[in-house]
Amino acid sequence: MKKSLWFAVLLIVSIVLSACSGESSSATDGKSSKADQSLTYASTTDAVGLSPIMTNDSASSSVIEQVYETLFNRNPETGEIEPNLAESYETPDANTWVFKLKEGVVFHDGTPFNAEAVKYTFDKLRDPATAAPRASLLEPVDAITVVDENTVEIKTKYPYGSFLAALSHSNTSIVSPTADQKQDLMNQPVGTGPFKFVSWTPGDKIELESNEDYRDGAPSLKKVTYKVVPEVNTAISMLQTGEVQFIDALPTEQIKRLESMKDVDIAKKDGTPVYYLTVNHEKEISKDAKFREAIASAIDRDAFVSKLNGLGVRSDSVVGPKVFGHDDSADTAGTPYDMEAAKKLVKENGFDDQPIKLLAANRGNYTLMAEIVQAQLTEAGFKVEIESMEWAAFLDAARAGQYDLTFMSWSNVTGDGSELLYPNFHSDNIGNSNFGRYNNAEFDELVTASRTTVDQNERKELLNQANQLMVEQNAVVVMYHGVVTAATNKSVKGLQLDPNGQWSLYNVSRE
């Protein structure tokens, strides 16, 4: 009896004590987090590596963007390409580019940034022995010469129209040559960017700290942590509790939930990704223009975009409003939605007795598109069966052309129309990135010309013509253009999203 009484007293005392200690510690936490300039970002996937030369995925580039810098940058607001590590450039002839570099820039390891570093980086990136995933960015480059400490001359094999766009791609960031020879940049990156690498625990987190010697002044944030949270619902809950302060690429179906959270700001910006329905252009039925017209007129794209909770922009144009080469006239140039016309076309041409396989990846908005389009095509009289697959299997099946209809998307990092039309629709890339197997000589010619012309106005016109040609032929049905998104804790200020979904933390601070 006595014993149990003692036990009860002990229990109560310990509960009270633990409650007190809990309170006091959380109070100090709250204060310190307000004072210190640190930021935790939750990513659903871990980075593959931290070298711009050897990677090509968004999780890696979100870190690379902070640690390294490129010669040029596309202004997130105006879409214009501006010098970054470069000071200026000249093109004495169509195949020669002379870049003047900024002076006095130093890598995090003390190595000076100069023409030698640029030559080293680009030569390594384009060297076949490196097998860099984005070596294609510098494929037209013929020779790189160091003119003096801060001048580099690049000769191309043929006029390279989207060269500056390529030089603003995060995979052409300049690396420290001394560091690259000494260590593996994949694990220990060294660049010139506003943040320095601290540590990486694979599968858990990557830590960065501010570069106090950054040429335009040190960033406000002193410490940045990239935390791996594989499940997006968990990441959102962590944002709600304040455990992380920043997430991006928000799923459309979670927008309402995020909007209802008190301490969360949502940033949206019209972006460069495009999502489209493509026919398999090698199938007999797809060669019939009436078939493609019937499909296009059966799909109510306005109703679909309304389902995206504001995360999609409606346009018929393949080259999106935020991509170089876009012209407003293409936005409404496609076959309009008209269910009656579609039904008539289907009946008259006997499309109703041929089974159609709609291949769809079972992730993100692909399922949403597949179900809505299947229902609408069925209403028009088509016989459509959905086959949904996990992402990797889907890519294999789509690349092999095992479908009649499928959905594809392209996030255009450089924001240049040539970088969309060439890989996705040029006949050079059939069996590779041209999943729809679109093959049109006139179109090929226009796209090739857009790649080998240096005059930007001329390029824009060529891209517009190529784009209009595709839209007119219903080569694909554009479902929507992506909106890039991020959600942050209200204490985070100054975050700016690029239309390609990337972001810089340089101007970010906490209040």
């Binding site: 109703a303 949403l368 229902a375 996990e390």
Partner: protein, 298 residues
């Protein structure tokens, strides 16, 4: 002893006795309130599946994008609508059809395989070793993993789900049947049949199998619940029903993205699955008790 003699000599009284056995079983079953509840739920579900086109208010695949994610008890949609504006009630009703068809197909196929293997294994001592080792091998896989493996080989579709679940049912059915066969085989009336020169097949099918029906009925009923749950699980994982098929598991998987804004999209199909599995389980339990010859008839 007396029963065995009756079987071997006179047919008419056996028939009468059988009728009596059924009546007794039914009486016992009806005394078990939970089992009756299960039976009622199953009957309702069968009615729902059979008369689906008469019950539903909308086409199950008909989308109305402007009326999506309506809450429960909305006008014209008493269970609300999903993300595509499809009527949840209509999808649940058609979903019952899919669950029952896949469940019955899978269990029947599993019974055919399991009974065959069990009879052969139990009756012929020489085959027993091989058959039971194969069964042990099948047992060593966790059930859902085995089903996923089979679907990975055959491809994703509801038919393949039924096949996968039936294969998964074979080992437990084979073991149960073999156990009964082993004990029945020792009975005097089987010995008598043998000495009278009856063929093995005749003995197995006409005399052993009918006497082993009780555990098989119980197994099949319980297995229906498992089969329906597995179908839902596999569809939830994206390995079963392909969209827009209104399968319950697939409905949950689709609805889970909307847990925070429209919880009914996961809760309603979840309750449907739960009720069905519960009904089959309690009915199976009740049947086991009712068919147990050792229970007192009161």
């Amino acid at each position: 002893m007396t029963r065995a003699m009756l079987e071997a000599t006179d047919v008419v009284p056996v028939q009468k006795k059988k009728e009596k056995v059924y009546l007794v079983t039914l009486k016992r079953l009806l005394k078990n309130k939970l089992a009756v509840a299960g039976l009622v739920i199953i009957c309702l579900q069968i009615a729902m599946a059979v008369f689906a086109p008469l019950i539903v208010t909308h086409e199950p695949a008909k989308q109305v994008l402007s009326a999506s994610e309506l809450p429960m008890f909305s006008e014209g949609h008493w269970l609300g609508t999903d993300n595509y504006g499809r009527d949840v009630w209509s999808r649940i009703v058609y979903g019952a059809r899919i669950s029952l068809i896949v469940g019955i197909t899978a269990v029947s196929l599993g019974l055919v395989g399991g009974i065959t293997l069990g009879l052969l294994g139990g009756y012929y001592k020489k085959m027993d070793g091989i058959i039971m080792r194969v069964v042990d091998l099948l047992f060593s896989f966790p059930g859902i993993l085995l089903a996923m493996l089979i679907i990975a080989i055959l491809g994703t579709s509801l038919v393949n789900v039924a096949i996968a679940i039936s294969i998964w049912s074979i080992p437990s059915c084979a073991r149960i049947v073999r156990g009964s066969v082993l004990s029945i085989k020792q009975k005097e009336y089987i010995m008598a049949m043998k000495s009278l020169g009856a063929s093995d097949i005749r003995i197995m099918l006409r005399h052993i199998l009918p006497n082993a029906t009780a555990p098989i009925i119980v197994f099949a009923t319980m297995r229906m619940g498992t089969a329906i749950l597995s179908t839902a699980s596999l569809s939830y994982l994206g390995l079963g029903a392909q969209p827009p098929t209104p399968e319950w598991g697939a409905m949950i998987s689709q609805g889970q993205s909307f847990m925070w804004t429209s919880p009914h999209l996961t809760i309603v199909p979840g309750i449907a699955i739960m009720l069905t599995v519960f009904a089959f389980n309690v009915l199976g339990d009740g049947l086991r008790d009712a068919l147990d010859p050792n229970m007192d008839i009161q």
